[in-house]
Symmetry: C2
Subunit: 403 residues, 2 copies
DNA sequence: GCACTTTGTTCGGTGGCCGAACAAAGTCTG
DNA sequence: CAGACTTTGTTCGGCCACCGAACAAAGTGC
């Protein structure tokens, strides 16, 4: 149950809680210095926080030339969060603590688009499985984050917009999740949540302005500006799958020609690999019907066919990444999605493609690299989104003991 | 002289001052409702503000069913601001009051790049001319805003970065302006400041997320996100002149091929018009050596050659605008710079070019239109930048009477 | 061993903001 | 047109977040 009356929602309380989370263990005096408040004020705020069980005293720290400080530590296990990644062809769930550690993880292939009802049932079932595996006090579940491969309404994040999942429009599914598990449900776009994961646990820790590029079934970007996800006027910012990169290219489902999505994406890469099979008789993929995983694996072992496919994709991506750099000048560009497994084999040709299309200034300033969060990135980001909300608004924390 | 001790710099004081500016004349009770503070609190804050001379009581307003309110009005003439537009081939200055009204305006052609020293002298000379024409109390000058056709350092805005004006690097020129006129000097990129002008006085009033595209000697974008100029990691966000739109296009000064700048920009449009002269013997431009102004004028009278030039430019711009829409999904795109004079003759083909390259969603949400601020837009934006700083920090106001 | 630091708490005080109460100056209704 | 009701703006007492000074406890360093 959510107790709205226990933790006062001051700005300062919020700031202190976030600081304790960041530093893990920190003394009152240090908090006072960091927040530029007096020690007496911080003492009182910390006193209130101690009463909530979110932080606890954790022994003495190093002396700085005087009395040793009492360290105050964030209680990472004060709550758990469920993160759901709804892909085009799979569903995966992660259960994390408040430090982003995996407590449970489940993944299933599922035709989400053609069977949205089944997807809904699968999510609740896998959610139960994760909670059972964790075997902790279920009342510590704080919230559920859901990543969907579609834009969301920037006005009321949580509303799914896209036609990709018509059955999910509005939020009936999310309401069901809410009533089944009895906790708040947050929804956002998968690329946006991938960016969140990178900022908290991955390559973008400490970076407030960057672009996350997810290359998987489709291509999407999560744009982080000033530490916040940027959604644009109607929530479709970052939907770069349909940027036109070749006016003479193949026709796209969207009606235009030469969209990025017609060149890069699981389906396209697989098609391309199969078309190249004849030309590469020595490839490990020769004589097989390769899927995307096989292609990525082959690339990692430097198979020439797979490298060709990856390099071509990098070249196409480079056009768009160059545009992003010229326009937004982000501090870094992080590549996620399954194709990111290829690492340098993807990034090197990408950097080259970008270099020929950008000013020296902006290209030099941006480092382009791959994520190392792996397959759990999106689900982790969904869980992290809930964590962010909770740290900003401690009322969301359950099981907070009365003062 | 700046009095730092007169206006206390509370958040609330700032909020109230901005509100009075926005509403022009507003009662204490109305301020209390808008800011959700008590009337007693607002009364005290307004009392302090009255003492500064920035606001003044201005008679009675309409009754809302009870006692008639006393209106408090912003004093638009409490200060004046000088805005400087340093172009590639001209320098212009505007003197405005705190409502953006033009008090004086001067423009001179000058080869800024080849004669930066002369430019500096010209700015101070024209500044004196503007102040003399205004003929007001010179101590009311609050600050000087300068627009430069080059990126600025996002860390310390005011530092000019680019190689376009090597002599202006660092801030010697700005220091000189400061010492000559004895007021703070603010510097920013011209496209950024054009966006500021649009947001305060032009097509983007009330819009917090939009992109301003300046098409003049060069092409640049000012990106407004959440009401703030977005500069990117190294200050080159919006420098879209070197977005590659045609891999097989002509070589650019920057070393790459097919940059937008090789197709759109004063120089390129003039060259293109001259190349087309033979093909359009009936054009009003036939037999002349047209400059950009003549081409724009001809387009406005529907001359086929000029329309051809404008349409081609629109087509090229469309590629980049489509990219911007797909990536950022801004609420609107506003076209400025001299080419914006062409209005519908530019916007219509641009909209068409964009429509074939964007998702229906994002294109439909963005309206693309031309600025109507004219040639003074950039200088006005520079002045407005100072106004914004002053409203955010009333200490900057000069001549504030002690309480 | 003694002077000096740092930590964390206590306690009285300050300042921003609030609500209640009130006088002044309106509108509306019978 | 008088009386009831509304709205405005001010005054005044009070609350609360936060502060600084003072202090005890617990260190360090010469």
């Amino acid at each position: 149950m959510i107790r709205a009356d226990v933790v006062s929602n001051d700005d300062l309380t919020r700031t202190v809680l976030n600081l304790v989370w960041e530093r893990r263990e920190v003394s009152r005096a240090e908090i006072a210095r960091s927040t530029k408040r007096s020690r007496s004020t911080i003492s009182e705020v910390v006193g209130r926080l101690l009463g909530t069980g979110l932080v606890a005293e954790a022994g003495a720290g190093e002396s700085r030339g005087g009395r040793r400080p009492i360290l105050v530590g964030f209680q990472d296990d004060a709550g758990v969060i469920l993160g759901v990644d709804v892909g085009a062809t799979h569903i995966s769930l992660i259960l994390t603590d408040l430090r982003g550690r995996t407590l449970a993880w489940r993944e299933r292939a599922h035709p989400v688009r053609s069977d949205p009802k089944g997807a809904e049932a699968l999510i609740t079932a896998l959610g139960e499985v994760c909670l059972a595996e964790w075997n902790g006090d279920r009342s510590r579940l704080m919230g559920i984050g859901v990543a969907v491969p579609s834009p969301v309404d920037p006005g009321s994040p949580g509303r799914v917009l896209d036609r990709v999942l018509p059955a999910w429009r509005g939020h009936s599914v999310l309401d069901r999740l809410n009533s089944v598990f009895g906790v708040p449900v947050f929804v956002d776009n998968d690329a946006n949540l991938g960016a969140v994961a990178e900022r908290w646990w991955g390559e973008a820790v400490g970076i407030d302005d960057f672009v996350y590029l997810k290359v998987a079934t489709g291509v999407g970007a999560g744009i982080m500006i000033g530490g916040e996800i940027y959604r644009g006027a109607t929530g479709v910012a970052g939907e770069i799958g349909h940027v036109a990169i070749d006016p003479g290219g193949p026709e796209c489902l969207c009606g235009n020609r030469g969209c990025l999505a017609t060149f890069v994406g699981t389906r396209q890469l697989v098609d391309r690999a199969r078309a190249l099979l004849e030309r590469f008789p020595d490839s490990v993929l020769a004589g097989t019907e390769p899927d995307i995983r096989a292609i990525e694996d082959a690339a990692l072992s430097d198979d020439p066919l797979a490298l060709q496919v990856v390099t071509e994709a990098a070249d196409r991506l480079g056009i768009v990444v160059a545009g992003v750099l010229n326009l937004l000048n982000p501090g870094s560009v992080i590549l996620g999605g399954s194709l990111a497994r290829a690492e340098d084999r993807l990034v090197k040709p990408l950097r080259e493609a970008v270099a020929t299309r950008t000013l020296v200034d902006s290209a030099a300033a941006s480092d382009i690299r791959t994520s190392d969060l792996g397959a759990r990135a999106t689900a982790l980001g969904a869980a992290t989104h809930v964590l962010v909300a909770a740290l900003a608004n401690p009322r969301l924390f359950p099981g907070v003991k009365p003062t």
